[in-house]
């Protein structure tokens, strides 16, 4: 088992294995990635950086495609923005 990485998603601490993407970390916490223009929750769809459903704010940078970004120790992830 590779060493775990600790990060926070909307303030909730989560530990993931090395090589895990931020989109997966958000899914593990049971929280949606974003809320659509009409207010419905959304999670990842394509998993390969095409659909933009998993976009979220990572370390203060908004609209990051979380399925193409690997978790790093201490990352601060905010969804639903």
């Amino acid at each position: 088992m590779p060493s775990a990485i600790a990060l926070t998603v909307n303030g909730v601490s989560v530990e993931v294995a090395q090589g895990t993407t931020v989109a997966v970390a958000a899914m593990q916490t049971g929280q949606p990635c974003r809320v659509s223009v009409n207010g419905t929750p959304r999670g990842p769809l394509c998993g390969i950086g095409i659909c933009f459903e998993c976009r979220m704010t990572i370390n203060g940078i908004s609209h990051c495609r979380a399925c193409q970004i690997l978790c790093e120790p201490g990352m601060n992830v905010i969804t639903n923005e």
């Binding site: 895990t20 993407t21 989109a23 929750p41 999670g43 998993g47 976009r55 399925c67 193409q68």
Partner: protein, 434 residues
């Protein structure tokens, strides 16, 4: 943001899946300076995605060849613009880079086709390949119930992989009829390697119910997926599940080819026998020239790589192999055609454009994609119509619109460079751009 990281290559390959890796290796082995650019953090494309479990052994062979050929790997770079012939602009996590080329090979792969149905926007409804990608990226599905649905050979590969990771698969729903599948089975018999793959999957999926002529009609849940209703031979059944992995075969990523002026033919990039597009010096290999799978992608990549460095004659030796694999591609296309009933899946309220939340009812009255875009914002969101475009093409027979830069949303700084051109330098005196 650091603007001008600038690199020049004799051959630049976009897309580091099987086609791109083979193209870059073959070109690089002739001694020229080759760059291989991809938006993922590792080469391998979607089929050879390594993720938390480490690299794929088949990919490792090509990675070794790439290293031996001194190919420069540029991962995590997303190409968004070609401001002029010979120059591509890409965006990384923290900069914009300018990539110059003499010859260009496009190996941009494919994405899943998604069709709208009630409830398809609920979290935990993903693409079939989409869920597999998430699992390879660390998602644990041990003990979870996953309905796999849609169409295409990917469904079986995904179901087998999910099962290996501990998921329970209550059913695989394949929209294609049993008779069409039987015909496809016969076509497979002529391709020993595909036959072996097929038999291996059959073994791995022993005991998993497979329903042909079956498809999902609704996903249910409050904040998240809880149940899915599937239709089989006119009868609806509702199953409880944790995930729905649903994709309707693949559509090619042709945006960059279109932007570069390459002619498309029936959705695919038109190429000659050496994989050269209608734009001299720009080649294309793999799924954008026709959905044919990994083996065809490799052969096409090799031919393109050789042709790009003036070794076309050597590429000729691969023509027989390519012709045979093309037959498989044709069988795929024929077998997994979408049945017309799927056009009626969305209800009036079903969101068709997920980026802009445009429902089916708003779209029916428009004669074409352009009119719908202008009036409803369908296809105008972040994905630029990559998801709803193929869906509306199928449902309404709307033709895709012309491609305009940037072909992916970029940060404002990137846009500024795209507008001002690649050679712009910020002058100290007066801050004038020249």
């Amino acid at each position: 943001m650091n603007r001008n990281t600038r690199q020049k290559f004799e051959v630049l390959v976009v897309g580091a899946g099987p086609a791109g890796m083979a193209a870059a290796a073959r070109a690089g082995e002739s001694g020229v300076h080759v760059g291989l650019v991809d938006d993922n953090f590792n080469p391998g494309g979607q089929i050879w995605r390594g993720g938390v479990e480490g690299g794929n052994p088949e990919a490792a062979v090509w990675i070794e060849r790439l290293q031996a050929a001194k190919v420069v790997k540029l991962c995590g770079v997303r190409i968004f613009h070609q401001p002029e012939t010979g120059v591509l602009l890409g965006e990384t996590k923290d900069e914009i880079c300018e990539l110059h080329y003499d010859k260009l090979i496009l190996a941009t792969g494919a994405r899943e086709r998604f069709l709208p149905f009630p409830g398809w926007t609920l979290p935990n409804v993903l693409g079939a390949g989409g869920l597999q990608a998430m699992v390879k990226s660390g998602l644990s599905i041990r003990g979870k119930r996953v309905v796999v649905a849609g169409t295409g050979p990917l469904l079986l590969a995904v179901a087998a992989s999910l099962r290996k990771h501990g998921a329970e698969i209550p059913v695989i729903c394949e929209q294609t009829s049993r008779s069409r599948l039987a015909r496809f089975g016969l076509a497979l018999a002529a391709q020993p390697s595909k036959m072996v793959q097929g038999l291996r999957l059959k073994k791995e999926l022993a005991g998993v119910p497979f329903a042909s002529g079956s498809w999902p009609v609704a996903a249910h849940g409050k904040e998240m997926l809880e149940r899915v209703t599937i239709l089989r031979r006119g009868k609806a059944t509702t199953l409880a599940c944790d995930y729905l992995a649903c994709g309707f075969h693949l559509v090619p990523n042709t945006e960059l080819a279109a932007l570069a002026g390459c002619q498309l033919e029936d959705d695919y990039v038109r190429v000659d026998e050496f994989q050269e597009t209608t734009v001299p010096g720009i080649f294309c290999a793999g799924e954008p020239t026709g959905i044919g799978g990994v083996e065809l992608a490799l052969v096409e990549g090799e031919i393109a790589g050789l042709a790009a460095v003036g070794r076309a004659t050597q590429g000729r030796e691969l023509f027989v192999k390519r012709r045979k694999l093309k037959k498989f591609a044709a069988a795929l296309e024929d077998t997994f055609q979408l049945r017309p009933e799927l056009r009626d899946l969305p209800s009036a309220e079903t969101v068709v454009c997920r980026c802009e939340d445009v429902p089916m009812s708003s779209l029916r009255s428009y004669p074409n994609w352009r009119a719908a875009k202008l009036q409803t914002r369908c296809g105008m969101g972040s994905c630029q119509g990559r998801i709803c475009g193929p869906a509306t093409k199928f449902i309404f027979k709307w033709k895709p619109d012309s491609v305009r830069p940037p072909i992916f949303p970029v940060r404002v700084e990137g846009l500024a460079i795209a507008v001002s051109g690649p050679e712009v330098e910020h002058q100290e005196t007066g801050g004038v751009y020249r």
